[in-house]
């Protein structure tokens, strides 16, 4: 872009959001160029600079967002939404330059409605802040992912996030009543007044998970819940994962625990041993159940009876409570994998008849082709019909190429192999981290001709292709 046009666009953006909310400073551009995606981290760790936006723009509301999108459409420059920037799939990376639309000025908490049981807020609000707002009034959002403190409401909506008590309370797409969205052409729309209706398809679900490719979600009504009268934990050790799956499926036909986390033997022997202290061989499982005390009593009896039937060793409440206290500790530096290691989380989901098969197929595929890679997994979001696998590959630094281009090639090869194996065995591209630029190439492999539905939506809503290009395979 030439200097003249650059300056022209800058003045128009400054007019849209205010000069102080529009930056072309190097620190702002650099800060918005790398997220939690391993490739972006590796790239800058090797002294390279990631692709950067030309303008960092922070609108305060839908109206200002609309103005920004109209400018971008006129000049046909890319717009990439940035919330907390803690995504792992490169979804917020401005790979084509243009505008970074940082949503964090849209952080107002408009209302905590304890009659309608929702919080209405700007999507730039940090999720922990809306949790605090709920807590101040005696309620809770029940959306507790590891990135609770660093990610925005919009960030979770954009990639269909999930929290640790999802088995009882649901995923982010279950947490939303209605949303305000700015379409790529600048029109401001509202989805329907409630998420349950027969007035056609659900507009919420078109934009949730669209990763900023179809518009910018600027406001949302997020559900809140009563704090449980009691929350109990119980740790178990299964001799193998098969019996844990069978036991869990049976429990889920009876009631929904809030937390269910099953760790494979490799992760039990590494992370769980280190942080929670379980030192025995086997597959560790932590279960929490909560609500009115009388119900919790009944649920505990059912749980213990079913798990005993499948040979689970009851470890009592100590490990589970420790896990709850430390549930975010896993993700802090010093506990989490970090460069120079290469690593990635290939979370997928499938019905019970397929999920364990996927685990073994992926483990074999990755550890066979890349014998220096370690494959570990846990299963942490459960349904009556199936479960989510949070599987990771980890490669120690000595095996990671020093040349960033070679490291990128290895990284992408492993990902392609892992996801193809998941798809071939009945899984999906991703469960709750999203697609981003990391997995865009795999979307057509999952959807086949169904991908044309997304492509048609994209073409219709964003004919100039300005919204977050090369993400989601669109």
């Amino acid at each position: 872009m030439n200097d003249f046009l650059f300056t022209q666009i800058l003045t128009e953006l400054e007019d849209a959001v205010g000069r102080e909310n529009c930056s072309v400073k190097e620190i702002d551009k650099a800060t918005h160029s790398a997220d939690f995606f391993w490739l972006s981290r590796m790239w800058v760790d090797r002294g390279r600079r990631m692709p950067e936006a030309d303008f960092i723009v922070a609108p305060k509301n839908a109206e200002e967002t609309s103005k920004v999108l109209k400018i971008a459409n006129y000049y046909k420059i890319p717009v990439t939404a940035w919330g907390g920037g803690a995504g792992s799939q490169g979804g917020a990376l401005p790979v084509c330059g243009g505008i970074i639309l940082d949503t964090k000025r849209m952080n107002e908490i408009y209302e905590v409605n304890t009659e309608g049981m929702y919080i209405e807020c700007g999507t730039g609000a940090i999720y922990k802040h809306i949790e605090w707002a709920a807590n101040e009034r005696g309620y809770a959002t029940m959306h507790y992912p590891s990135s609770l403190t660093c990610s925005t409401v919009g960030g979770f909506l954009a990639h269909r996030g999930i929290g640790v008590v999802s088995t009882k309370y649901g995923k982010i797409d279950d947490m939303v009543l209605k949303m305000e969205v700015v379409l790529p052409n600048g029109d401001i729309i509202n989805t329907s007044a409630t998420p349950k209706h027969a007035a056609g398809p659900d507009l919420n679900q078109i934009f949730i998970g669209s990763e900023g490719t179809l518009g910018i979600i600027t406001k949302a009504q997020i559900r809140i819940f009563e704090q449980p009268e009691e929350r109990r934990f119980r740790g178990f050790l299964f001799r193998d994962m098969t019996s844990a799956f069978n036991a869990s499926r049976e429990v889920l036909q009876k009631f929904k625990p809030s937390v269910m986390r099953l760790y494979d033997e490799a992760e039990t022997a590494s992370l769980i041993k280190k942080i929670v202290g379980v030192a025995k061989p086997g597959a560790f499982m932590n279960v929490a159940y909560e609500g009115p005390r009388e119900l919790v009593e009944v649920e505990e009896k059912i749980l213990l009876s079913i798990f005993a039937k499948y040979g689970a060793e009851d470890l009592g409440s100590e490990y589970g409570e420790k896990w709850w206290r430390e549930k975010i500790t896993f993700f802090y530096p010093g506990h989490m994998m970090d460069i120079p290691q290469m690593f990635g989380t290939m979370d997928t989901i499938a019905p019970y008849d397929k999920i364990e098969k996927i685990y073994w197929a992926m483990k074999e595929a990755i550890e066979t082709k890349y014998p220096f890679a370690k494959f570990i997994a846990h299963f942490s979001h459960w349904y009556e019909w199936g479960a989510m696998m949070y599987d990771r590959f980890i490669i120690d630094g000595e095996y990671v190429p020093k040349d960033p281009v070679e490291a990128m090639k290895l990284h992408n090869e492993i990902w392609t192999l892992g996801i193809r194996t998941a798809l071939a065995n009945g899984g999906v591209v991703n469960d709750h981290h999203g697609v981003g630029i990391k997995l865009g190439r795999m979307m057509k492999e999952q959807y086949g001709p169904a991908m044309q539905v997304f492509e048609a939506l994209k073409k219709s809503l964003d004919p100039n292709g300005i919204m977050n290009p090369f993400k989601l395979g669109l």
Binding site: I27, K104, H129, C150, P333
Partner: protein
């Protein structure tokens, strides 16, 4: 860029970690991505790898309040303050400080303090060289909240104890602006020489006391027998020397980050409130205290500090609080300037005085 190994390690661990974003008072007020410990570490890591210039970071480094909320929040114990202070020092020594910082340092060179202030006459009249015990009012206190220092002296005199007043500059502001430099140490040394003449020094501002207890000692500068103002007041209340009456008023304590996190004292302020009324708490208290004001930063980014204070008023309002009690001049000034109608800000001494 010169950095200790300790700082390098913190930078490399924080540069891709967002976990403390939610507690940064500046980031919460501005919504800027760069106002996070992660962004600062990321920028420094780019400089360390030759991918950008130190000058590009200058403004952002000075947007950190060094309140330590991020440090307190880090479960693995990384302390971003360490590298921020070191980078500030480098920025100053390399002549890369922003003009608004250079202006403050010039004021210090010309007048002896960064505010270019003179000790108000009514405070100078309270000096008492014959006292064994003195109240030390540091730069922020005497220059920016002299009315609080007067109230403090009035309260102390009502206890029947002979307490003199010493005004000075512990070096807190210079240390904040330049890190560990000769200028910071010289200011601290001059202050130490004055204070060493007294048997007991009651330190009014916890930020000064934290500097004395930590940095002064690290720098080998003599530290007098010090006690915090809160602790001294508590001893007077407990002994009955200060005759306070317990009423029904509810007070919300704005924990000073210096008391809570650097001096490990989250109790004295609450005990003082409890002696005259009832404690009503808001979000983020004790060790998790959220900053509500900063006098040095207010000199060069007043709008942000105003926003920080307003956010704290919002926290108080959410819990129905109307009377905020502050423990340090920084937050007293900012909260006073943004006080909503129907609400009050009181310093600890003002609260006690209205309950005598």
């Amino acid at each position: 860029m010169n950095m200790t190994d300790k700082s390098k390690n913190i930078v490399d661990n924080c540069r891709f970690c967002w976990m403390c974003r939610h507690v940064c008072p500046i980031g919460n007020a501005t919504g800027l991505e760069r106002n996070t410990a992660r962004a600062r570490a990321f920028g420094v890591s780019l400089v360390a790898r030759g991918a950008t210039e130190l000058s590009e970071l200058s403004d952002n480094i000075y947007e950190c309040s060094l309140c330590g909320a991020c440090t307190n929040n880090c479960v693995t114990g990384f302390d971003p303050k360490v590298f921020v202070r070191e980078v500030k020092r480098e920025i100053v020594l390399e002549g890369l400080a922003p003009a608004y910082i250079t202006d403050l340092l010039m004021k210090h060179a010309e007048s002896g303090n960064i505010y270019g202030a003179e000790v108000p006459g009514e405070l100078g009249a309270l000096a008492c060289e014959s006292a064994d015990t003195v109240l030390f009012a540091g730069l922020d206190a005497w220059a920016k909240t002299p009315e609080c220092v007067l109230s403090a002296m009035k309260l102390l005199s009502s206890s029947g104890r002979k307490v003199g007043l010493v005004t000075g500059d512990s070096g807190f502001a210079l240390h904040f602006l330049t890190g560990e430099t000769d200028e910071s140490r010289e200011a601290a040394l001059a202050c130490s020489k004055t204070l060493m003449a007294y048997k007991t020094v009651v330190v009014y501002d916890p930020c000064d006391l934290a500097l004395m207890k930590h940095e002064w000692r690290e720098w080998g500068i003599g530290t007098p027998e010090c006690i915090s103002f809160n602790e001294y007041l508590l001893s007077l209340v407990r002994s009955g020397a200060l005759k306070v009456k317990k009423g029904n008023t509810e007070y919300m304590l704005q924990d000073s980050f210096a008391y809570a996190r650097e001096l490990d004292d989250c109790k004295s302020g609450r005990e003082l409130i409890d002696s005259v009324g009832t404690v009503r708490d808001m979000l983020l208290i004790g060790k998790e205290a959220n900053l509500a004001g900063h006098l040095v930063m207010a000199e060069y980014m007043p709008a942000v500090i105003e926003a920080v204070a307003k956010m704290r008023w919002r926290d108080a309002g959410n819990m129905g609080g109307e009377n905020i009690v502050t423990e340090c001049p920084q937050e007293y000034a900012a909260l006073k300037a943004t006080c909503p109608e129907g609400c009050r800000v009181l310093s600890v001494e003002e609260m006690l005085l209205e309950n005598m």
